[in-house]
């Protein structure tokens, strides 16, 4: 006996599951530093953006958004490729031995957009990074993505992130969220 629920999913179950699987796959590639495969999941006009968080009083919200603002990432494909090229030199001493890292993706929501073949996908990624001698760092980032069908596959076109820490808790961010 099926009862229809008083809540409507924005997309059908198939679409939702497709994006869920896609985000899990992306997380796995990032865990394993499969950066070439990760780059292939991005559109050529990818914008990967994470502003620097600040704490203002609620009534001063306007303060928080300025045209010139600092960021942790404000990268297009060229800059992402540059970061990856740096890792690939094998001269980044802090990544040797390899740091153990796990990206857990949760809170996934999928919405259609006004553009045919584009979806707005929200998620939260929790990064657990095990550093030298068992030091563990945990970082939580909210992500607001645009995914687009291109070359017959789904590609990430935009990722706006919110870094949920007022002070960055690790001495390097040699990875992606």
């Amino acid at each position: 006996m099926s009862q229809s629920l008083p809540f409507k999913n924005a997309v059908d179950a198939d679409t939702y599951q497709t994006f869920q699987t896609l985000l899990y796959k992306e997380a796995r590639l990032l865990d394993h530093e499969e950066y070439d495969q990760w780059l292939a999941m991005l559109t050529d006009d990818i914008h990967y953006y994470m502003p620097v968080p600040a704490r203002y009083l609620r009534e001063e919200k306007k303060q928080a958004i300025k045209p010139l603002d600092a960021n942790i990432f404000n990268d297009y494909k060229k800059q992402l490729e540059l970061r990856i090229a740096r890792f690939a030199t094998n001269l980044v001493w802090s990544e040797n031995p390899q740091n153990l890292i796990n990206h857990s993706v949760s809170n996934i929501e999928v919405f259609p957009t006004d553009v045919e073949g584009e979806w707005n996908v929200l998620s939260v990624v929790t990064v657990l990074r095990s550093r030298l001698d068992g030091v563990e760092k945990r970082m939580v980032v909210s992500r607001n993505d645009i995914w687009r069908i291109e070359d017959n596959s789904l590609k990430l076109a935009k990722r706006n992130m919110l870094f949920n820490h007022a002070v960055v808790p690790d001495s390097n961010l040699n990875f992606f969220f």
């Binding site: 968080p53 600040a54 603002d69 030199t89 001493w93 001495s171 390097n172």
Partner: protein
């Protein structure tokens, strides 16, 4: 009395005891004798332009509130309520007419005066003398060309005297353009398990580590060849690059080519054309040497104890100590006000990509500093010494450039003078016991304790 620091640093051999990066009692003495007595950076005037604008920061471990007054002057206060000690301001920055404590509701005006107290009549019987309970002021606040500094010691020299000959170099950035500079962007804060002195000694003089510690990013991100970095020390002379120390602990290292500050921009064309458009005007303001050789070069400047600025790479940074093994690094982009918005954005993005939280250069340094700190937890390890003895005895005087000069970006002269100043401040109970020197002759005449 305090800890005897006479054996902890030896400027003649470039030796430091590792205990200075570890011991709690040494750290406490730093709070008293360095952060309690030196001029400390509070904010840039551009961050608090209007009356009521405030910025929350630290002087050592003391949290302070810097506030622009109605008459445009600037005051600073300990960010602590005079009733029971709660914080009176929790935001990073903003604009306020008054600061109301969240505990019992005492409210303070922008000039620190206690303005109102809940139940003043019913509970205090109108017997509270409000004039005695204003916020505790930082006794000295002064600015140098846009940079606001505070000092807790009423006996301290003036800011102008404190900066001394270093002003000649600071002006290469602060006074190159008629409108001066501004800090842009949200404060980028990163916590490091690091003693605060290690990043200071690094950026004050350590051109040595750049080729090796940053080998990865140097391989992929350099758009210009900085001769003075790739050459060995013996092959460079002061026409290629210099280090300037002495100067009461302040210091500079600089290339002298007038454009290598932008060597780590993937495309330096926009900043380089800005440099060349303004070069003549800067030469007429600052003279040939500073306008041609310094302005636009790769430069690291340090104001003792914890401020560093790198024009070209355009970052401005202060390190806040949080215990012997922990510090918070705050970074901004500093730009000339005259720059176009497009150039400011380019500079800001480059600061973030090179020296921000995910900055490709900064992300090489943290791990090294962290281990230079944590290894000293070992009792046997910390009884060993560490050294900054490169190029000992190669210092000289220059007819035009102030301070104690050495050749090249790769050297350890400035680190030695940083630790000499650290030792002098740590040994002195008050400012009358602190030696004053800028040049090599003065530095030699005032000795340096061993």
């Amino acid at each position: 009395m305090g800890v005897d620091v006479s054996k902890l640093v030896d400027n003649k051999t470039g030796r430091q005891s590792r205990s200075i990066f570890h011991e709690q009692d040494i750290y406490e003495q730093e709070q008293e004798r360095i952060f309690g007595k030196c001029w400390l950076f509070l904010a840039h005037e551009s961050q608090i332009p209007d009356p009521g604008d405030y910025f929350r920061t630290f002087m050592g471990e003391d949290e302070v509130l810097v506030i622009r007054q109605k008459d445009q002057s600037i005051k600073a206060f300990l960010n602590t309520c005079t009733h029971r000690g709660n914080r009176v301001c929790k935001a990073d920055k903003g604009n306020a007419k008054h600061f109301t404590c969240s505990y019992h509701g005492w409210s303070f005006a922008a000039d620190g005066a206690l303005q109102s107290v809940p139940l003043e009549e019913d509970a205090y019987y109108n017997e509270l003398d409000k004039s005695k309970f204003g916020l505790h002021p930082v006794c000295n606040v002064d600015s140098y060309k846009g940079l606001i500094f505070g000092n807790f010691d009423p006996e301290a020299p003036t800011l102008n005297d404190y900066l001394g000959d270093m002003k000649w170099y600071l002006d290469v950035w602060l006074d190159a353009m008629p409108e001066g500079t501004e800090l842009i962007g949200t404060t980028q804060k990163v916590e490091y398990p690091v003693n605060w002195k290690l990043p200071v000694e690094n950026a004050c003089g350590d051109g040595y580590h750049i080729g090796w510690a940053h080998a990865g990013v140097m391989t992929v991100a350099s758009s210009m060849n900085i001769e003075s970095l790739s050459l060995g020390n013996t092959e460079v002379d002061s026409s290629t690059a210099m280090a300037g120390g002495g100067m009461n602990g302040h210091s500079i290292i600089s290339s002298l080519d007038g454009q290598s500050g932008y060597a780590f921009y993937p495309d330096p064309s926009l900043p380089v054309s800005y440099l060349e458009e303004n070069r003549e005007a800067v030469i007429s303001r600052l003279g040939e040497t500073r306008g041609k050789q310094f302005w636009g070069s790769q430069i690291n400047m340090t104001v003792f104890p914890n401020v560093q600025m790198l024009p070209g790479l355009n970052w401005f940074r202060v390190y806040h100590p949080k215990g012997p093994g922990k510090m918070e690094m705050w970074t901004w982009a500093m730009v000339d006000k005259e720059m176009s918005d497009e150039l400011k954005q380019t500079v800001l993005d480059n600061v973030c990509r090179t020296f921000g939280a995910a900055g490709m250069f900064d992300n090489d340094d943290g791990e090294n500093f962290a281990a230079c700190t944590s290894q000293n937890r070992g009792l046997q390890t910390r009884q060993k010494d560490v050294y900054t003895n490169m190029g000992l005895g190669k210092e000289y005087s220059h007819p035009e450039m102030p301070g104690v000069i050495s050749d090249g970006l790769v050297g350890e002269q400035n680190q030695r003078y940083f630790y000499r100043r650290w030792q002098e401040m740590m040994a002195a109970k008050d400012w009358s016991a602190v030696p004053n020197y800028n040049s090599l002759e003065e530095a030699n005449a005032t000795g340096g304790q061993n």
